[in-house]
């Protein structure tokens, strides 16, 4: 039996532990560049200088932003599962962090692994013997079926419909180009370049919207990122705990764990709210005034919802107005929450009612009016963009394919700008079709030709 194994040149990345929330998650990379790619974003020891079968503590950062503190395990080729260089990153077990880390690695140059690809590489590189092959094959089979169904269920709100529509338009586009190339002698009219440009620009808009929706998709899948902002003693942690305790029965398993807050998820009326890095919760200097500092501002901006919490007994109208002004400038939806109603002086409450009639008055410590707060929170997200019915992308592989589609479409536009001839345009269009095909199924030249023959009278 002849056998040719070509070494894999690309580095793949995927979550190695089950999907869903666990205490920790392991993200695995395999391929020649896996160590280098992780090292690029790892703050700690120089991973490229470490021995195999070692574990290192540090943080993963994107620019300034710390994504998580992690443990990195190194396995140098060939002493690894796939017999390639393998890195396993142990992160805290939130799907948000997992996705951030995977996205980060993709931006570094890794490619999302296909279903069963680690196992496949392991086998191809001689890790298993033939006797195990059938069992492995069965495993992979079920793997890909499951992942296929997962992908299908992730397509919400007409995702597949929209992609199919896009594909049809692109095929038409490609056919028009191919028509001109292959049937130059024919008496048919060809599409104008202006029409082609309009079409590509239209397609780009759709693709870009889908790409942008990826974050929104994650919001739906992983929870609405929410920040409680306020002065150190405004009662932020009390409020969080109050909400948390109320929902304990239906909150995810994170609740009740003893580890420090990285995030907490609270289910309110069927919507998951993820409280990220609650501003001011731990860092006493991190006040609303500090929002001028860009880092804090970024944190606030990345939230989809802010609960602005203030202590009625420890503030005045000037401070409140200034904070609200700052929040309004952020452009993130926020609720004005007045805490410790029992301590508030009448004058301030009256003034608030007059100037900010939408203020919600609660007592976090005494669990007063929490239901009202929750209703308001739900009202806000329901009215907001989450329910616009737009197509949303939640799958990281789809995200990857859409990004490549986008790049190819941009190449088409560049080609149009440089007035290259249609055969070159066609090449970039085909690349776009190829990448879209990774979502919808392969597009063959037969599709193009069938389209041509059905629409145009061709042939001598």
């Amino acid at each position: 039996m002849s056998q040719v194994i070509s070494p894999h040149e690309d580095t793949i990345v995927a979550l190695a532990t089950p999907q869903g929330v666990g205490a920790i998650a392991v993200i695995r990379l395999s391929g020649p560049q896996s160590i280098q790619l992780v090292n690029n974003v790892f703050y700690g020891k120089d991973l490229e200088k470490q021995a195999g079968h070692t574990i290192h503590f540090g943080s993963l950062r994107e620019g300034e932003k710390v994504i998580d503190e992690v443990l990195v395990s190194l396995f140098l080729a060939p002493r690894s599962f796939t017999k390639e260089n393998v890195v396993e990153i142990s992160t805290h077990g939130s799907s948000y962090i997992v996705n951030q880390v995977i996205k980060l690695m993709i931006r570094q140059g890794a490619r999302p692994a296909k279903p069963g690809e680690f196992t496949q590489r392991a086998f191809l590189n001689g890790q298993f013997d033939l006797a195990q092959a059938e069992a492995v094959a069965d495993l992979i089979h079920s793997d890909s079926e499951a992942s296929h169904q997962a992908a299908m269920s992730q397509m919400r709100g007409g995702f597949s419909g929209e992609i199919t529509d896009l594909r049809a338009q692109l095929i038409h586009f490609a056919s028009m180009i191919e028509l001109e190339l292959d049937f130059t002698e024919e008496d048919v009219e060809f599409a104008s370049r202006e029409d082609l440009r309009n079409l590509v620009e239209k397609l780009l808009k759709v693709v870009e919207r889908l790409i942008d929706s990826f974050d929104l998709g994650n919001v739906i899948k992983n929870g609405v990122p929410t920040v409680i902002a306020g002065k150190p003693n405004a009662g932020k942690s009390t409020l969080l705990n109050a909400l948390l305790n109320e929902e304990k029965a239906i909150v995810s398993e994170i609740a009740g764990t003893t580890r420090d807050f990285i995030e907490d998820e609270i289910n309110i009326g069927g919507v998951i709210f993820r409280f990220i890095d609650t501003a001011g919760l731990r860092d006493t200097t991190d006040t609303i005034e500090a929002m001028g500092v860009s880092r804090t501002r970024e944190k606030m901006k990345s939230a989809s919802l802010i609960l602005y919490l203030f202590d009625l007994g420890d503030t005045d109208m000037i401070e409140i107005n200034r904070d609200i002004n700052l929040l309004e400038n952020l452009g993130v939806p926020f609720l004005k929450v007045a805490n410790k109603i029992d301590k508030g002086n009448k004058q301030l409450i009256n003034e608030l009612n007059r100037l900010h009639p939408d203020t919600i008055f609660i007592s976090a410590g005494k669990k007063k009016h929490l239901d009202l707060l929750k209703d308001k929170i739900l009202e806000l997200v329901n009215l907001d963009k989450f329910k616009t019915g737009n197509t949303v992308v939640t799958n990281i592989r789809h995200y990857d394919s859409l990004n490549r589609t986008r790049e190819s479409l941009l190449d088409v536009l560049t080609g149009l700008d440089q007035e290259v001839s249609n055969d070159f345009l066609a090449m970039d269009i085909r690349r776009s079709l190829h990448y879209l095909g990774e979502i919808t199924g392969e597009i063959t030249t037969d599709d193009l030709l069938a389209n041509i023959f059905s629409k145009f009278c061709i042939g001598k």
Partner: protein
């Protein structure tokens, strides 16, 4: 009566001629059997070679050492490079040919090839022993023994000609159909099908009024197909003419529809969508009030005219009446009516990539028997079948071209993996790497193979190497030579492109869409002198490689990605039924096609990505 041959070729059309020539040139003892020695290498349809994608194939055949390019050059009456306004991958050589000269040149070439014997008779059966072919039987009851057989029967297998309500057995107008081979093959377990094609009427050129038609000249600077110096470009050419049908023509044609074999169900075979009959065109595209008609002379001296675009099987009286309503055809005299022909073909998924059948060892198929259409498609298959029959007999590895190497590779890979429901014609859009598969570089892509197989001559090989070396030398030079702003800015503005502030390399200038290498050479006297030594083909090659480098590189990267899969071989006797994890459809398709590599398997319709993963796992060891 006969010795044992290495290769018998049945049929002497485009495929058969290339097959016999290739096998004999490489050293096989070849017998070429034809029903009529006077109709060797007939252009049964239009008197033309090449065209978009097809011209590239002719260049590829030539680069490998095949003969079609040379024969086309020697019988050419007009040359046009189609698609000149597009990128170099689209440039497609096309010629009008003298039908009689074309056949004569092929016949002379075959007669002059040592090792080819001829026999004129219908072949009616195959001699099979065990699972292997041993020769053929003739209508006189003779047996011709052979180590291998190539069937290139064209439209002759149980051919039926239709004109209106009349039908007659025949392989071409005025020629008998061939019987016996289909029946033998079916008994051996081969699947067969019916296909249909058609041809237009021929008319007397003296009866046409050319003054009301558009004249279509050949190129002012004609080129040719062959890379070999054996042929020269044309010094004079004949024109073609273009005219159009009109509503009256369409109405007249429609009066014959009730007697059309196309519409009354008498023709069962499937015809090509891209080469429809005129009745098909007006039926399917009723909104069009005219269709193009190409008026093509059949040769230098003959008055016979081929009415391209008017393929039809309507009754002859309707054909003539409709023809005479075309502008310029008012007084047309018809020489022969158009007709449709139905014939047997064998779905090509029954072949290996070498074109050998999977069922019977040493039996090869090439041309229309595989469901293709076109002289070029047939000739290229004949060439590969000839090479591979020779290799098989001499116990050498099969010669297989990759999709990224040649249109011929795309053609055969498509046939074997996808089969075809309608006559298969090559289009550039079928090739995923068409920027690499250009007519200007077929020699650089393929002549090395041809030479190593003793098919392409030493002279061709040397010329190719010279072109290759001089091109890379020139590219280096163009990357180094810098031109000064004061010397070129005037010329740059004349060419509508921005002036430069600093010295600039020729290479950089060449990347500007407005500038060709000729424009730049003219800008600088010293450059002009320095480059005078380079041959036109070398200048062109360097220009293409520099100008389109970024696109070509992108395509090469895709090729590398895909070749990784092509390198993963699947053993011949893989038992797919034992792989339980495969999907039912995947298992069935894989068992039928028996792909030779993982890459090939991935192109089979019905084989899912999940099946591919499983297969890859199985092959890891």
């Amino acid at each position: 009566m006969f010795p044992e041959y290495d290769v018998i070729v049945v049929g002497a059309g485009h495929a058969g001629c290339e097959a016999a020539h290739a096998a004999a040139t490489m050293g096989s003892r070849v017998m070429l059997c034809t029903m009529n020695m006077n109709t060797i290498a007939q252009m049964s349809c239009n008197p033309a070679m090449g065209g978009v994608a097809k011209g590239q194939i002719v260049r590829e055949i030539d680069a490998l050492g095949g003969r079609s390019g040379i024969v086309a050059d020697k019988s050419m009456i007009q040359f046009r490079m189609l698609n000149r306004s597009k990128g170099p991958a689209m440039w497609s050589p096309r010629s009008q040919n003298d039908r009689m000269r074309f056949a004569e040149e092929w016949r002379l070439a075959l007669e002059q090839t040592p090792n080819i014997d001829f026999w004129q008779e219908m072949i009616t059966g195959l001699i099979i022993k065990g699972k292997r072919i041993r020769g053929v039987k003739t209508s006189l009851g003779l047996e011709i023994p052979s180590k291998s057989v190539i069937l290139t029967n064209g439209t002759f297998l149980n051919g039926i000609i239709h004109i209106g309500e009349k039908q007659m057995g025949g392989g071409r107008t005025g020629e008998r159909a061939a019987k016996g081979i289909t029946e033998d093959l079916r008994q051996l377990g081969f699947e067969s099908g019916r296909m249909k094609t058609g041809t237009p009427p021929r008319v007397d050129g003296r009866s046409l009024d050319y003054t009301v038609m558009e004249e279509q000249h050949g190129d002012a600077e004609p080129e040719k197909f062959s890379y070999s110096p054996e042929t020269k470009v044309l010094s004079k050419q004949r024109s073609c003419w273009i005219t159009y049908t009109n509503n009256k023509v369409h109405e007249t044609l429609a009066t014959g529809f009730d007697r059309s074999p196309m519409f009354n169900g008498r023709i069962q075979g499937l015809g090509p969508r891209y080469c429809p009959s005129i009745e098909d065109k007006i039926n399917r595209f009723a909104e069009r009030d005219r269709h193009q008609i190409f008026v093509e002379p059949e040769g230098w001296d003959t008055v016979e005219i081929y009415v391209n675009g008017f393929s039809t099987s309507l009754p002859e009286d309707v054909q003539l009446k409709a023809l005479r309503q075309i502008r310029g055809f008012e007084n047309a005299k018809m020489f022969r009516p158009g007709y449709a022909i139905e014939y047997d073909y064998f779905p090509p998924t029954q072949l290996k990539l070498s074109l050998e059948t999977k069922l019977i060892d040493n039996l090869f198929f090439a041309g229309q028997i595989n469901g293709t259409t076109g002289y070029e498609e047939a000739a290229s298959q004949g060439l590969l079948a000839g090479i591979n029959a020779h290799h098989k007999v001499k116990e050498k590895e099969p010669f297989i071209l990759k999709r990224s190497e040649a249109y011929i590779g795309v053609l055969i890979d498509d046939l074997i993996n996808k089969g075809t429901e309608e006559p298969y014609r090559m289009f550039t859009s079928r090739a995923e790497f068409r920027l690499l598969l250009r007519q200007d570089n077929a020699d650089l892509r393929l002549t090395r193979y041809g030479y190593e197989m003793n098919l392409a001559s030493r002279q061709r090989y040397d010329l190719m190497q010279e072109k290759e070396a001089r091109t890379s030398e020139l590219i280096k030079k163009l990357e180094q030579v810098r031109l000064r702003p004061e010397g070129i800015n005037g010329a740059l503005q004349e060419n509508n492109t921005a002036p430069v502030k600093e010295n600039i390399t020729v290479e950089k200038l060449l990347k500007r869409p407005q500038l060709g290498i000729r424009d730049i050479i003219k800008m600088d006297h010293r450059l002009e002198q320095e480059l005078a030594q380079y041959h036109e083909a070398v200048l062109e090659q360097a220009e293409i490689q520099i100008k389109y480098r970024s696109y070509i590189d992108k395509e090469r990267q895709m090729v590398d990605k895909i070749n990784n899969l092509e390198n993963l071989k699947i053993p011949h006797h893989m038992d797919y039924s034992s792989i339980k994890a495969l999907s039912a459809e995947g298992r069935q398709k894989l068992s039928k096609i028996k792909p030779e590599t993982i890459g090939q398997a991935s192109r089979i319709s019905g084989v899912s990505p999940a099946d591919m993963s499983i297969l890859t796992i199985y092959l890891g060891r």
